[in-house]
């Protein structure tokens, strides 16, 4: 038999296949993620063009061409050396202590610093899930800290801390105070309202639902207007609370309605068996809630609580409208200073404020996401 009859026998080497398309490494990643189809290539090119167009001019404005020091507006106006001056950071530097403390007397500002430290301690204690004695942390944050802060910030002349009227408070101090009072008041109130909404007692349930739905249905501005205009009418003259306290009451009531819904979501996620087991053990309503249900519900809903708090933190800017000198209002006030009137002052001020709020809110949302991931891990186990 001749070899040519066996057609299936190869008599020449097979052709070389082309090298496989890289699906790993930098090139493969770029191919899969940026240039997978003609449409994708076009979109990528548009995006790159947009980035190349925007990012360098932003960097130039905020960093390379920015004015970092100077005594007044002259430094930030166009000049020989600076034909196109960027952001006027000198303005922020000069006004920075006003942005932090407002008109708080300079000799007493250590009290504000101490308040910030005490607050940071409390937040760290509560936020770090592995911290020792977090129950003590809760007592510290929700009971000791408010009293200490009040003594520190407002002053008690008897122990050598002169009175500082709230009209002198301002800037980041006020923003932090409003936000802290919001969370310290809204969490317990919110828990009570959430329990009230799920209560078996019709009068309690009706009162809770009315309050929650009413507050959630109206804008915060109107609640603040109500607190600042109507509250003084509702109490006898001599008890009329001062401006900041009125705004604090408004914010606290507003935040507690939202917190109530978040806590209710947590309560709903607890299986019935937990309630039944607690009742079978003979626990009273409050013991069941405090020892069994709430610890689980609050843990599950912690990310949502933090998210609500982010909303609250952003909403603190609204006290601006009822005439409180919060951080944003101090920016507005400084922006109007004729010594610093330049075309870039407003943008610089707003950019500074935006960075502050972004860092705070983004930090909190990262934390919420971490807790969420951690909870998901423990649930899977």
């Amino acid at each position: 038999m001749a070899a040519t009859d066996r057609v299936y026998l190869r008599d020449a080497p097979a052709k070389l296949l082309p090298a496989p398309v890289a699906s790993t490494g930098v090139l493969g990643w770029v191919r899969a993620n940026l240039f997978s189809s003609p449409v994708n290539i076009a979109i990528t090119i548009i995006c790159v063009a947009a980035i190349v167009w925007i990012v360098p001019s932003l960097l130039r404005f905020f960093i390379f061409d920015a004015v970092w020091s100077g005594a007044d507006r002259e430094a930030c106006l166009p000049s020989e050396q600076h034909p196109e001056p960027g952001a006027c950071w000198a303005f922020v530097r000069v006004w920075s202590s006003y942005f932090v403390y407002g008109f708080y007397p300079i000799s007493e500002r250590w009290r504000v610093d101490l308040f910030f430290v005490l607050l940071a301690l409390g937040i760290a204690w509560l936020a770090w899930l592995g911290a020792p004695r977090r129950d003590l942390g809760a007592i510290y944050f929700f009971i000791a800290l408010p009293i200490l802060s009040y003594i520190l910030l407002s002053g008690v002349p008897m122990i050598g801390l002169p009175d500082v009227p709230t009209s002198l408070w301002g800037g980041i101090l006020v923003t932090i105070v409003v936000a802290t009072v919001g969370i310290v008041a809204s969490l317990p109130l919110g828990i009570l309202l959430a329990l009230g909404r799920r209560s078996a007692m019709p009068a309690v349930r009706l009162a809770s639902i009315t309050f929650i739905e009413f507050v959630r249905g109206v804008p915060l501005i109107t609640v603040l207007f109500m607190a600042s205009v109507m509250l003084p009418l509702f109490v006898p003259d001599r008890f009329a609370p001062d401006k900041l306290v009125r705004a604090l009451i408004g914010v606290a009531l507003f935040a507690s309605a939202y917190m109530a819904e978040v806590v209710r979501g947590g309560l709903l996620s607890i299986p019935r068996g937990q309630y039944e087991a607690a009742q079978a053990l003979g626990l009273s309503y409050w013991r069941m809630m405090v020892l069994v249900i709430l610890p689980q519900a609050l843990r599950v809903t912690l990310p949502n609580i933090v998210n609500t708090f982010i909303g609250l933190f952003k909403d603190t800017t609204l006290v601006f409208i009822v005439g409180i000198f919060d951080f944003l209002r101090t920016i507005e006030a400084a922006r109007g200073d004729p010594h610093w009137a330049t075309p870039v002052t407003s943008v610089t001020g707003y950019a500074f404020a935006a960075v502050f709020y972004f860092v705070c809110c983004y930090g909190m949302s990262r934390y919420a996401r971490n807790v969420e991931a951690r909870l998901a891990r423990t649930h899977r186990r």
Binding site: L34, C47, I51, V204, P219, V229, L233, K314, L318, C361
Partner: protein, 390 residues
Amino acid sequence: MSKMLQFPVRSKQQWTNIALQAALVVVVGGLIYAAAVNAANNLAKAGIASGFRFWDNTAGFDISQTLISYSSSTSTFGRAFWVGLLNTLLVASLGVVLATALGFTIGIARLSRNWLVSHLAGGYVELIRNVPLLLQILFWYNAVLKSLPDLRGSIAIPGGAFLNNRGLFLPQPLFGANFPYVAGALVLGIVATLVLRIWGRRRQERTGQPPRTLYYAFGLIVLLPLVVFFAAGAPLSFSFPEVARFNIRGGTEILPEFAALLVALTIYTAAFIAEVVRAGILAVAPGQTEAAQALGLRSGGTLRLVVVPQAMRVIVPPLTSQYLNLTKNSSLAVAIGYPDLVQVFAGSVLNITGQAVEVIAITMAVYLFLSLVTSFLMNLYGRRVAIAER
């Protein structure tokens, strides 16, 4: 013993509950009563009238943007209320439309397979959501719109519009006497298209022939009104704005306050809507897409017939609450002086009349009404999709 089981007496616990509730009612009622008495005293001392009689008094203040006729010398506070409410509804409805468009775009972009697109969209969402809305409104108003060139340096926009720090000036359409015919033709075209679509779908169910309504729709909605428009003698002209020495003549003006508020609300709410959309699309199990592909649907059909209807069920409830948030957030107009309900009514009217209780109560009632209506509609929708789910 058995008698006691048949007629259960109230237990100690139940009596405690009743006592607790009675105490709550007494305390809340007492607080309200005390507040009312104090308010009456304080108002009497300040010489402020009470009741709603101010509604028909002459307002006497100007409003910069009025959708209905209003004059400071003859119009009443009641009229001012309606002007403010309409301004709120105007900015809210435009904001809802624009924020939905932008939000859906960004939400879908976040899910793009293109790394650059998804990360740009993600960066947008993170940046916008973490900066307070009020700051954004002030930024757009003070840093962007108010720093535009003044009247003499007005930027001319192709098409006959002008932009300066007093606002955006657009050509104003002037409708001729025959214009109602054109509008009528447009409405007719839309109705006819809808009827055609229903008929086409019925036919598809009966015979399996897919409807081809696109060309008919184009003819009915675009061509028919156009034909009528020219047949009626083109009853439409424009008044173009012109830069004069001290002001801009002709045209129609869009206030910078309105523009800043609308831009800020749109950008801010779009970031939240993007998250809602992303979550909704991710909530559709990947098996649904695979099953649709296995049935032979193309990618367009998969999206339109399988993914979107299921995603919408998840998207719509939080989307509505974003719409409500936008409406409530439009009250921040007061910070830049856009004459919305809060600025006009809880601002000017309250300052002039001093009747805080009535004015704030009316303002709150309006927002409360809007949110109650929305949540009522939401419940209806929820019930509908719940039945579909089975």
